[in-house]
Each structure stands twice: as C-alpha cells, then as structure tokens.
C-alpha cells in the first residue's frame, strides 16, 4: 500500500512548507508531477487502477475543499454534483460520443448547472443550516437519480459506458486511462489552485474568517458564495466525468451521502484549506475503502467511521494543519 501512497507524500509536504523559497516549492510540484506521470511504468495494473481512483476522488475532494477550506462552507451534499457529472458524462459517452473533450465538458457543465440550480437556497443559509440543507439536497438528487430510470438506469446504475476516445482511439489500457485522468486532474487542480490564490480566493477566505466584516467593506458575499458554489459544482462534475471514464459504471451511491461524507473526511484529514492535504486525504480514503476494504471483509466503512472520530479528537486542524502551525493567521 505504501507503494501507492508514496509518490504523493514527500513532494506534497515539501510544496506546502511555509515560507519555502518559491523555487523549491515549484521544484517540489514538478517532482510530484514527474513521479505521478512515471508510476504506471513501474506499478502493477491493479495498483495503477487504485492510483487512478485516488486521482478521481482527489479532484472531487479538491473541489469540496474550495467550499469547506477556502470559503468555510461545510457541504454534506457535494456528491450530488460529482454524481450528476458522472451520469451526464457516462450518458453522453454511450449515446452521443466518447471522444475526449465531450464527456469532460458535459460532466463539468452538468455539475455546474446542478449547483447553480440548488445553490441559491444553500448559500443563503449559514453554519449548521448549510450542513443540513446540502445534506437534504444531496438526498433529493439521489432520489432523482433513482426515479429517472430511463436515463440513469435507476437502482442498477448506468452500465456499458465505453472507453474514452482520444483522436478516435479508445483508451482501453489501464495505463492510458491513468494518464488521461492524471492530465485532467492536473488541469482541475491548477484551476482550483489559481482560483484560491486569486483576489477572488482572498475574498472567499475573508468570508470564511468574518463574513459580516466583508459585507461591511462592500463585498456582495452571497454572490461570492454562490459563484464559488457553482464553480465547485463544476469541478466536482469534471471529477465525475473522470469517474465515468475510469470505472465505466455509475451508480446511485456515487451521488449519495456516504460519498459526500468521505470527501469531507478527505478534506478534513488533509487539513481544510490545503489542496495538497485534500489529495492526501483522498488517497487515504480510497486506500482504506477500495484497497484494504476487501481484506477487512468489506468493512472499510467501519474503519473510516473510526477515522472520523479520531480525526476530530487528534487532528483538530487536519494532518496538514499540524504540520503548518499558524497557517490560518495570515
């Protein structure tokens, strides 16, 4: 298992070390990318597939971190947009075309539109109400997926999704699928990273730390929260389209409560606000659930539930939070 996790750890830590010289941070990031790009050459197909799943879930967790860590909006229904993107990308691959950019764009657009339709209610609420509302919306979307059987396949899930095609050639091999997922992951990660570092991102952190003051300064905070909600929904939809490409099967649990909760766990383990941390958290969740789960008699959920409890007591600021004291104070 360490073989799967190892590539992400050293570089990730180096890249977020506080006050690291810029050059070293960049060097770390480049090293991570190079290692990530090279691993399928050395790993067995099963490990490559696990790593692919980690990347998919990591992009989803990163999109959630934009809400939870950067803006301070703890969503428990983010899987709704992830699943919606996955269903849309899968559906368009089956019925229209699996040619590369199409499922990606359709998935991202569906996630963004779903978030735009539901977000105006959620961003009006704060704190625990936001938590409850996103939870309820996630459940409603799952219900929609169950009821709309002609499109989603209902309880059976959406099956028979073809491989993604790049320039006409299907990506049948696990290694090629991995590189495709890695490329899109890096694109999505870079997008979220740029947003978080932009003036817009600074305003979001201001809203997280003191929304009333931001409003007093003259920021239309509700509009900002709505915008980031839609953006996060779009990135989650993009991650969903990667799920459709990797698993080639989408089912109701991908929309549901547990998926959303595990993404939240990934964000919190990594230290909310740290995008690298969210990726590490995602790796832990996927390794426990998918790789260790079968050897635990299918009870990976039990372990993750215990991890939730431990994280709250032992890592009040997440793993990255421990490594980076005072990160929040800036």
């Amino acid at each position: 298992m360490t073989a799967v996790e190892a590539p992400a750890v050293p570089g990730g830590a180096a890249a977020v070390t506080p006050r690291a010289p810029r050059g070293r941070a960049w060097l770390g990031a480049v090293a991570v990318v190079v290692v990530l790009a090279a691993v399928p050459l050395f790993l067995a197909p099963f490990a490559t597939t696990t790593l692919t799943r980690i990347l998919v879930f990591a992009l989803f967790a990163v999109s959630l971190d934009l809400l939870v860590g950067v803006t301070g909006l703890p969503s428990l229904g983010h899987a709704a947009y992830f699943g919606a993107g996955a269903y849309a990308a899968g559906w368009v691959s089956i019925h229209v075309t699996a040619e590369a950019p199409v499922p990606l764009l359709v998935g991202a657009a569906t996630g963004a539109v779903a978030a735009a339709l539901t977000g105006w209610i959620t961003v009006r609420s704060a704190g625990v109400f936001f938590l409850m509302l996103t939870l309820a919306i996630g459940e409603v979307v799952q219900e929609l997926g169950n009821a709309w059987e002609s499109v989603t396949g209902g309880a059976n899930g959406l099956t028979g999704i073809p491989s993604v095609r790049v320039a006409g050639a299907p990506l049948a091999n696990a290694g090629f699928t991995y590189w495709y997922v890695l490329a899109v992951f890096l694109l999505g990660f870079a997008l979220v990273w740029l947003v978080a570092r932009s003036p817009f991102g600074a305003a979001l952190r201001g809203i997280r730390d003191n929304e009333r003051r931001m409003r007093a300064i003259g920021y239309p905070t509700s509009l900002y929260k709505y915008a980031v909600f839609v953006l996060a929904g779009g990135v989650a939809g993009l991650a969903g389209s990667l799920l459709a490409a990797q698993a080639r099967f989408v089912a109701l649990p991908d929309l549901g409560f547990a998926t959303a909760a595990f993404a939240l766990l990934a964000v919190v383990i990594g230290g909310a606000g740290s995008l690298w941390g969210a990726c590490l958290g995602a790796a832990l969740v996927i390794v426990v659930r998918d790789a260790l789960g079968p050897s635990l008699g299918g009870h990976g959920t039990l372990v993750l539930g215990a991890v939730f409890v431990l994280v709250v007591y032992l890592l009040p600021r997440g793993a990255a939070g421990i490594r980076l004291p005072g990160r929040r104070s800036s």
């Binding site: 703890p74 704190g127 509302l133 939730f308």
Partner: protein
C-alpha cells in the same frame, strides 16, 4: 384518500418521536447529532429480530430504551469537549459514530433487508369509515399522539421542562444560578436518543430494517426540525405532521416526486421564515 391521510398521521407521529430528540439536543447542546438516524436503525433491527410476538415486541422496546439511554449518554460525553468548537467538528464526530454503528448493525444482522411484523393482535386490519386499514398503524397514531402530548407537557408544564427550556435559551445563565447543566444536557441527550431507538422499534413494521435506512430517516428528521424550528417541541410536532402528510399524499398524488415535495416545503419555509415555523431568534445559529 382517507387511508393516505391516516398513513400520513402515522408517519407524522413516528417522525415526531424521532425528530423531537434531535431538535431538543440541538437546541440545548448546539450539537447536530448525525448519529440519530443510526440509533433509529438500531431500534428497527431490534424490532425486526424480535418481531412476531408481544413478548418479543416489548423486549425489543425495552432493550432499545436501555440501549438508547446508554448511547445518548455516551454521545453526550463524546461531544462535551467539542462544545466550543465548530459545528463541523461535531458533525464529523457524530457522522463517524453513525458509520460505525450502521456498519456494526450490518455485521450483526446481515446485508439483506429485514421486515418486522406487528405484534400478533395488531397484525390485522380494521375498518375505519368504510376503509380497510392496518390496525397497527391506527395504534401507532394513538401511541404517537399520547407520546407527543406527554413530551409536550413535560417540557412546557413541569419544573424539569422549565429547566430544559432554560438551558436551551441560555446554558451559561442556568449554570450561573447553580444548576449542573452538564447533568441536564446528558439526561436530555440520553432521552433524545431513547426516543430515536424507540421510534426505530415502533417504525419497524412500517419501514422494516435495511442498510441505508439510517440516512433516509435522518434526512426526514432534519427536514422536520428545520421546518419546525430548532429546539421547539411544538415545531417538531407540526413539522412532523406536515412532512408525514406531504410524504404520503405526495406519493399518492405525484408518484416519484414525493421527495421533491419535501424539499420544496423545506425551501419554502426557509425562504419565508429562516428560523423555522416555531423557532425563536435564539434558535438561529448565533455561532
């Protein structure tokens, strides 16, 4: 139609028993207990495992009551240190407990859905105004109504209830006048959890017991609490009866859209009255 209205009443009272504990625990301790649905599921599995006889039914109720009290006291102890931390931490903690409990229940009772039969004498049907109706649900309406009135009277009319309401309104002030509010909150958390497990046993013959039911009932209870207003017994009752009717009538009139109806009701209430129908200003997240 009459059958649907009665079904709505039965589900409404069941939801009240489930939701009132969630509501008061939140109002008092500021803890959103996401393990509440898992406690219900525990009761439902107990009810299913012991179903088929009066003895079994009563035994299930007894075990569920004791288990609920213990679980609530434990949850109260676990969330105590988090009181001054964010809602997210409490949510994560109780979410973790919910996953562990649900997974242990699956290990104990298996993956397959279990059905629970009503106790023997109530297993049949009776005729109500010319409509054939399951006797158990009729009794459930009666029991639910009695429980609702009892909880309401205890909270609104007794000294203990006054203490509970005072702690909901301002726990620090209650501490100032020399009352150990930790004891009060632990007791309320325990009773709230007892109500959740009891609702599980009572709801067994309606919902059965299956993996995933915990999330379903948790959402229903949250919707009830948000509509009624956090920390309000009256709100939980009205919210539960509204959701009971919306859910059952929705299934009859607009099949497939029932859950959207719930969501629409929730959205409407939140837009018009963000603190819920009976929530005071204190109930709206000061933190």
């Amino acid at each position: 139609m009459l059958v649907s209205v009665l079904n709505g009443l039965a589900i409404g009272f069941l939801l009240f028993i489930l939701a009132v504990g969630l509501s008061i625990v939140f109002g008092m301790m500021d803890v959103l207990n996401l393990a509440h649905g898992a406690l219900f599921l525990g009761g439902a599995y107990l009810g299913a495992a012991f179903s088929g006889s009066w003895g079994g039914f009563l035994a299930a109720l007894g075990i569920a009551a004791v288990g609920g009290l213990l679980a609530g006291a434990l949850l109260s102890l676990m969330t105590g240190p988090l009181r001054r931390r964010s809602h997210l931490d409490q949510a994560l903690l109780t979410l973790g407990v919910a996953f562990v409990v649900a997974e242990l229940l699956i290990i104990a009772f298996g993956d397959d859905p279990l059905s629970a039969a009503a106790p023997p004498a109530l297993d049949g049907s009776v005729t109500v105004f010319g409509a054939v109706y399951p006797a158990y649900r009729l009794v459930l309406i009666g029991v639910g109504a009695v429980l609702a009135i009892a909880v309401y009277l205890v909270v609104e009319r007794t000294r203990v209830g006054a203490l509970v309401r005072a702690t909901v309104a301002d726990r620090d002030m209650v501490a100032t006048i020399g009352i150990d509010n930790r004891l009060v909150t632990t007791a309320v958390f325990a009773v709230g959890s007892l109500l959740a497990t009891t609702a599980g046993v009572l709801g067994g013959p309606i919902y059965g017991a299956r993996p995933g039911l915990d999330a379903t009932v948790l959402i229903l209870a949250l919707v009830v609490v948000v509509i009624g207003g956090l920390g309000s017994v009256r709100g939980a009752l009205v919210g539960a009866l509204i959701i009971g009717q919306a859910d059952t009538l929705g299934r009859v009139l607009l099949p497939g859209l029932a859950s959207f109806l719930l969501f629409a009701a929730l959205a409407l209430v939140l837009v018009l009255r963000p603190q819920g129908l009976f929530g005071g200003p204190a109930a709206v997240g000061a933190r």
